[in-house]
Structures are given as structure tokens and as C-alpha cells.
């Protein structure tokens, strides 16, 4: 979508609010901090609530078609290659038995271990502070389920004594080891698209990926 970022002659600069409303993107304006809904082009929170940006004409087409119709077109100069992914913008997804949970990396930066259940399997998603290293472990040992937190480069049992190495979950001091589980990274918006029944983890609890299915 393309909007005119101007209200009553005042030019706005808009950033990414990092929230979804109506399963769609929201913006923040950099002068009042009001929050805007992308599909409505309308402020839904803050001082500008109710203000609406004008929608401008635009098209979605292949590059070949657009160039054919507009030989003099300019092209947004983007950084070379399409592989410059920034982990900070992504989420770590655990999918087991058709159930899934996505842990946004920004959330894991504030709390580096997500103790969650996916399809009844107790798992821990771990992001090493200050690095891009992440792991997914089962929290089930032979006889019990534990919760984990991070202490330096070691995983430690909450309310217990067991410690594990972060790289492979090996039990330290001869203890039992954690099982590694598969995970993958995804952009949050792609996760919502491909896993509409999934959930986002936050330190405060799980949030449905798509309200109302």
C-alpha cells in the first residue's frame, strides 16, 4: 500500500510499531507516537487517533511488466543480495505434531529462555545473550520435567541443582543430558501466515498468532 504521509500539511515520518491489530501491521509516528493501522491508514491510539492518511494509487506487478510499462522507472536501491537477514527481526519457531510456538528474538533478548509446551512436549527455547546462537531443548528428563534458566554459558535447573552446557545440552558433573529438538527461524509475519493457529511466546505468556482463527 502507498499512503501520503501528511496530515493537514504536516509531514509525518512513520516507523514500525511492532504490533498487530486486526492481524495487520501498525506504525508509530515519530512526533506524537500515535499508533496507526496499515490497512485503514488511520491512527487508532494516541493524540492523532481518528486521523487518516490519503491512500495513493499503486500497483503490484512483476518487475518485467512494470519496466515495460514504465521504461524510465527508478528502482529502489537495496542492499546487495537478498540474504542479509537480521536475526533480531525474526522469531524462533518450534513445531511438533502440527502445533507450534514462535519465540520472537526481541523477547528472548529480555528473557533468554522460553519454557513452553508444544503439543504436550515441554521445551526450552534458548538464545545466548550477545550472540545469534540459539537452541531448542526438551525439558523432559527420564523421571521429570524441569524448567530452565541461563547462568552465563550454562543452563541451570530452576529450583534444582542440575546444570547443562548450552551448546548441546550435555549434563555437567556427570548428570543427565537434555535432548536437542529441531527449530527454525521465521519472520513473525510469515509465521502468522503459515501457522495461523500458532502462538507467539512473550515473557508474560502466549499470544495467539491470529485472533479468532
Amino acid at each position: 500500500m502507498v499512503h501520503r504521509r501528511e496530515i493537514n500539511g504536516t509531514e509525518l515520518v512513520l516507523g514500525n510499531q511492532g504490533a498487530l491489530w486486526g492481524n495487520a501491521m501498525t506504525w508509530w509516528d515519530t512526533d506524537t507516537g500515535s499508533v496507526w493501522s496499515q490497512p485503514l491508514g488511520e491512527a487508532i491510539l494516541g493524540e492523532r487517533r481518528g486521523a487518516r492518511l490519503e491512500l495513493l494509487p499503486s500497483s503490484l506487478s512483476t518487475w518485467a511488466d512494470w519496466k515495460a510499462q514504465h521504461p524510465d522507472t527508478l528502482a529502489l536501491a537495496v542492499e546487495s543480495g537478498f540474504d542479509g537477514f537480521d536475526l533480531e527481526t525474526m522469531a524462533i519457531v518450534v513445531e511438533l505434531d502440527d502445533e507450534s510456538v514462535a519465540a520472537p528474538v526481541t523477547e528472548l533478548r529480555s528473557e533468554p529462555v522460553a519454557n513452553i509446551d508444544v503439543a504436550g512436549v515441554p521445551v526450552a527455547v534458548v538464545l545466548q545473550p550477545g550472540s545469534d546462537t540459539w537452541r531448542v531443548f526438551s525439558r523432559r528428563l527420564d523421571a521429570e520435567v524441569i524448567e530452565l534458566t541461563l547462568d552465563g554459558d550454562e543452563l541451570v535447573e530452576i529450583g534444582g541443582q542440575r546444570r547443562f552446557d548450552l551448546d548441546r545440552g550435555l549434563g555437567l558433573d556427570g548428570g543427565e543430558s537434555l535432548d536437542l529438538l529441531p527449530g527454525f527461524t521465521s519472520f513473525p509475519r510469515d509465521y502468522v501466515t503459515f501457522f495461523p493457529d500458532g502462538s507467539f511466546w512473550t515473557p508474560g505468556g502466549l499470544v495467539p498468532a491470529r485472533e479468532g482463527g
Partner: protein, 143 residues
């Protein structure tokens, strides 16, 4: 249960947009990706707009209705911090000959004030927001 350590699968990226970046091997694409004259050397090439570089404050220094605990509309979910997905505040343009995008990749096209501009969807998948100035019209391109 197998207690041996094994490797995780990851990171694997499932960005739908990546599929669009699949390169074509057609002769047309090969020819298209060869270096072409720039705007400075080709008198027929369009003029490039001046660089835009909008001033953006630290998001934490600006009022946030969520932090201020304004009543949130139903269905509002804060998932990431502001600008965790970094918007573009300083877009730069080149000529069509200056890029080697796959012919079948998608672009958002905008034609205003007798000037056409193309924004690749692959790029917008990652950055989501471009603040631009289209020959005097302040625009916001979002995906």
C-alpha cells in the same frame, strides 16, 4: 529415547518472499544483469532524486500509548519493540539498468508527478516500511 546429542535444524528461513528471488537463467536475465550505463553517462537515463534522509528520534524517547497504558482496541497485540523491523528512512534510487532483480519478481509500482518508482517486494518483506519523497509528495510504501 536417544540420548546422544544431535544437531538442530536451523536456521532455516521460511520467508515466502525468498521464493520470488529465485534467479532466472534466461538469456534475457543474463543480459539484463550486465553492467549498464549509469545516469551520469547515459543522457537518456532519468534524473535520480536527491537523497532523502529523514531525522528519526529514539523510539523510546517518544510517547508510546502502550507503555502509557491507554486502553487498547480489541485484538491489539504488541509483539516486538518499535522499529525492531527497521523501516527505511533514507531511500536511495537508481535506474532500472542499475539493478538486477529477477524479471518475475514482484514490485510495488508508484507513478506520481510523471515519475515511476519501483519497490521490490522481496526487500519490503524484510523492511516492511519505506518513507519516501516522490517529487515533493511525501509517501509511505508499506507491505
Amino acid at each position: 529415547m536417544d540420548r546422544r546429542p544431535h544437531r538442530t535444524i536451523g536456521p532455516v528461513v521460511i520467508a515466502g518472499g525468498l521464493l520470488l528471488a529465485a534467479c532466472s537463467d534466461s538469456a534475457e536475465d543474463q543480459a539484463f544483469s550486465t553492467p549498464a550505463p549509469t545516469a551520469q553517462t547515459d543522457e537518456n537515463a532519468p534524473d535520480l532524486p536527491p537523497r532523502l534522509d529523514l531525522a528519526v528520534p529514539d523510539p523510546n524517547s517518544i510517547y508510546d500509548p502502550v507503555r502509557a497504558e491507554e486502553p487498547l482496541p480489541p485484538g491489539y497485540r504488541q509483539l516486538l519493540r518499535r522499529d525492531a523491523i527497521e523501516p527505511v528512512y533514507d531511500p536511495v534510487f537508481t535506474t532500472a539498468a542499475g539493478v538486477d532483480w529477477p524479471e518475475e519478481s514482484l514490485v510495488i509500482g508508484v507513478d506520481l508527478n510523471d515519475e515511476a518508482r519501483a519497490y521490490p517486494v522481496d526487500f519490503l518483506n524484510r523492511r516492511e516500511i519505506v518513507n519516501d519523497d516522490h517529487r515533493g509528495i511525501p509517501t509511505l510504501v508499506t507491505w
